[in-house]
Symmetry: C2
Subunit: 288 residues, 2 copies
Amino acid sequence: MLDYKLLHALATVVECGGFERAGDELGLSQSAVSQRIKALEIRLGQPVLVRHPHLAPTPAGQRLLTHYQQVQLLERDLRGSLPTLDDQAPRLRIAINADSLVTWWAEAVATICQQEGVLLDLVIEDQDVGLKRLRDGDVAACLCATPQPIAGARCVALGEMRYHPLATPAYVERYFSDGPTTENFQRAPAIVFGPHDQLQHRFMALFGFHSHFPYHLCPSSEGFVRLASAGMGYGMMPQLQTKELMQSGQLVSVAPGYSLSVPLYWHFWRHSGELIQRLTQHLGHIFY
Amino acid sequence: MLDYKLLHALATVVECGGFERAGDELGLSQSAVSQRIKALEIRLGQPVLVRHPHLAPTPAGQRLLTHYQQVQLLERDLRGSLPTLDDQAPRLRIAINADSLVTWWAEAVATICQQEGVLLDLVIEDQDVGLKRLRDGDVAACLCATPQPIAGARCVALGEMRYHPLATPAYVERYFSDGPTTENFQRAPAIVFGPHDQLQHRFMALFGFHSHFPYHLCPSSEGFVRLASAGMGYGMMPQLQTKELMQSGQLVSVAPGYSLSVPLYWHFWRHSGELIQRLTQHLGHIFY
């Protein structure tokens, strides 16, 4: 059995951002906190914290923290049947794709998070990387486009997000006045979320285009829309995020009638407790 | 002298997302592309690409790519005086803080990027991490809050961004009806951008509060505003990003009259060519 006193010290140091503050919080001296961290590192045979450039957990330390959060979630369920155990807000560490986070996520989970008194610890990752974090025990759940569950985890289909290839009217006039042709794809600067983002490639493949094209890289959903709105490029943007800009005519499609949909799946550990189950049920209802 | 044919192969493999497509692009067989990458790895004594979970450059590979981009920028200046050299759009890899990217950045640089025909490769990093990337040669410029230039680089003050502690009116009524007191800070869920984000701590320190508080972690500027707008918490948000939400009354301050400002500095290598110099001049003018 792990010594949860040590894990609690680690969580407090990370949350407070320092040993001295963590000591204040725990009612311990700074050196007592240090000793607990050291005991953890000896037990583990590797460091759990890095000091530079910021105090932060190592990957091993993060795995311990996520485990600690999961145990807290299970304890929370236990407290439901044993209400005399004292109360403390649980944390839920979730990997989520950026486009969900800037569109439907907050409204979908606000009420249940408030009712359950849960604090979120969100990590932005797309696809495989989010699932790898789940497999590594770095997060308790993952929202992504991959339907294959990993061993020991469950996977629930939530729905899909629709993407349109959008730009300003002036941009479309300049680069796509004669439509989505090979020549236009070769000279019109696109915007791509990151090196693993395949949506732009999938869109161009609809027109038989598989070659090289100029593009800006912008790993922020909102920054992406801002670059497009400033006329810097065109790119695949979620309908949910751009509805108003499309309605007002600030963004228009470079290929009207063409869109792509990306499915969304919710992955979570089978034995992660009732809160995750209720959240899963809630997500299943709300998305449609 | 480096063999730029090899660097070009590396850049093409990364941009095309595979050896076969890169071969098509370069007019080479897949195995010829592989050989060039291998030659680079032998020269360097370490891998430049990882294959799993995605094809991506290693840190060493990324350094080579950034160097390659910088050489392309210098060549671009050369082409200004030797216009017969054939034209190709240069890439500029820049580390930028998330809040700038979702507010003033795109409008500020759209025109100059179009005029100069430059493609951006944006990396979101706050503070020290962005500067570390500059020092490591991973980016050509860095926009952050740190005024100290690193050796060999220049640093220009651009201005500052103002942050207000905002939440929905219902949230303020529920948690801050009697103002920003210690008791309220201890029970009101805050929203914090990431473990290194000190703005929330700085805000609470204005009221002498230095203790533990509940918070959601949300490393997305737009996601942050969404969580707050859904009533999940309060947090420090840029005036530039929330002006309309404040004007419409959807978000209000939990401590009217209190705000914090964060300075913005533009760091870049001294010898990175004329394009960076013109961009720097442009940023110096546009921010005010």
